[in-house]
Symmetry: C2
Subunit: 267 residues, 2 copies
């Protein structure tokens, strides 16, 4: 019960998932590992992403975590089975399944769009997970790599951000609009208001951070492993660039991160 | 004389330098290594970039190169001394010194702007190299990380590209315009026409690919090592993602790259 929950991401995007976890599980201890030396995963091959994800999971297992959250959509999309094969009895929750669950709950027409990194789209895990739950769904996947850079730069509102979001989503939503849009990359929730302006008020926007946090909460409560009292804590671990992790990451987490308290490790 | 020239980059941006080298040295054999598994270097710490650059240089030394070109601005900015310490008698040419040389030749007023990655700006090598050549120069450095993603996405013209370039350069060139702009990242030459539209016709735009190629040519001729006849050739090596290397890289090189002929190695 006192063991920490491990959260793994390719970098800082997963801090949007950590923010949701801190809300859903206010007494829990977390260890967050960002593989900042090797980010982004989104443009790498499936083989490499799988290898990196297993190494990161092993590092967190070494910290005695009671549950493992794969907060990176790309890693969850192509590396979840490999991580599970290396995690023994520790349950592993990725962001894809809860995101697909939420999308199926949100959609009326079954016409769902997923925006994600190149690797997540190529892996096709969202499409498979949605079709498993709703066989008649019509899933359109779109790689939107520039939105990652935009979010990292903190340029999430204003004409530049709106221009890039329109570039990706404008044509689709003008011609044959899906009724549900899945933000299939942890960087994208920071752009949600701008995305909302482009797609209009009627589209349901699914942010898998919230549903993933709910899934982790349910799993811990079900297993009797949730911490019931005491202050939450987060141990940050990165593989490179503590200063940048703190500076950019604070925007994703929604609270300040102290660069001096980030532990640097090699994977 | 028959030995190849090694060209190293964090990924595919250095293919703009390779294109210039193929022009300047039409009989040469090249081995191009792109560290695509670990790109981008531009947001990583100096320590990590240095370590990666040395590993890449050693891989090329293992191929018996007669000259080593560090085509990545970030690696040249923070890792050139380390690479030279590991390259024995093989001469090492980075893109920074030729770029600074060209900037000093181009400027009238001495007011020079350098746009580059975060790590290149933080390393400050362009500023130092320019001030060594012209002590009264006024050098302004600006990190323009989004332009890298824009170039990789192939979105180099049109309103989205113009919007982002204006975001970075508009205010400076409206208020206190430098007379020379150094494209301090190998990705940026693909955006040159859009940059020209934003900064206006009077600004001198320095692309270090051309001056680097000239410097390599001079070094090979001076050492009597240039290949005088025969067809040029390029061996491509990458650390990940041959398909993406070929697809995106073809835009940077200006000619098609066959993914099946890219050798994949681990560093």
């Amino acid at each position: 019960m006192e063991a920490p929950v491990g959260v793994f991401d390719s970098g800082i995007g997963g801090l949007t998932v950590l923010a949701a976890l801190l809300q859903a599980l206010p007494h829990e201890r977390f260890v967050y590992l960002g593989d900042t030396a090797r980010l982004p995963y989104g443009t790498k091959s499936a083989h490499t992403v799988e290898r990196y994800a297993v190494q990161a999971a092993q590092a967190l297992m070494g910290r005695g975590v009671k549950s493992l959250v794969v907060a990176c959509n790309t890693a969850a999309s192509v590396g979840l089975d490999a991580v599970r094969a290396h995690s023994g009895a520790v349950p592993v929750i990725g962001v894809i399944e809860p995101g697909a669950e939420a999308a199926c709950a949100a959609t009326g027409s079954g016409h769902i769009m997923v925006i994600a990194t190149e690797a997540t789209v190529r892996g096709g895990a969202y499409e498979r997970a949605i079709l498993q739950r709703r066989a008649d769904a019509r899933v359109v996947q779109l790689p939107a790599q520039l939105l990652v850079a935009l979010a990292e730069e903190g340029l999430v509102a204003g004409p530049v951000a709106a221009g890039i979001v329109s570039h990706y989503l404008g044509p689709v939503f003008a011609e044959d609009p899906p009724d549900t849009l899945v933000l299939g990359c942890t960087h994208f929730p920071t752009l949600a208001p701008t995305i909302r302006d482009v797609v209009g008020p009627q589209v349901r926007i699914v942010d898998s951070a919230l549903t993933t946090a709910a899934a982790v909460r349910e799993q811990l409560l079900g297993a009797g492993l949730a911490r019931r009292a005491g202050a939450p804590s987060v141990q940050f671990i990165a593989t490179d660039g503590a200063e940048r992790f703190a500076r950019v990451g604070s925007r994703f987490l929604g609270r300040a991160i102290d660069a001096r308290r980030i532990e640097l490790i090699d994977l």
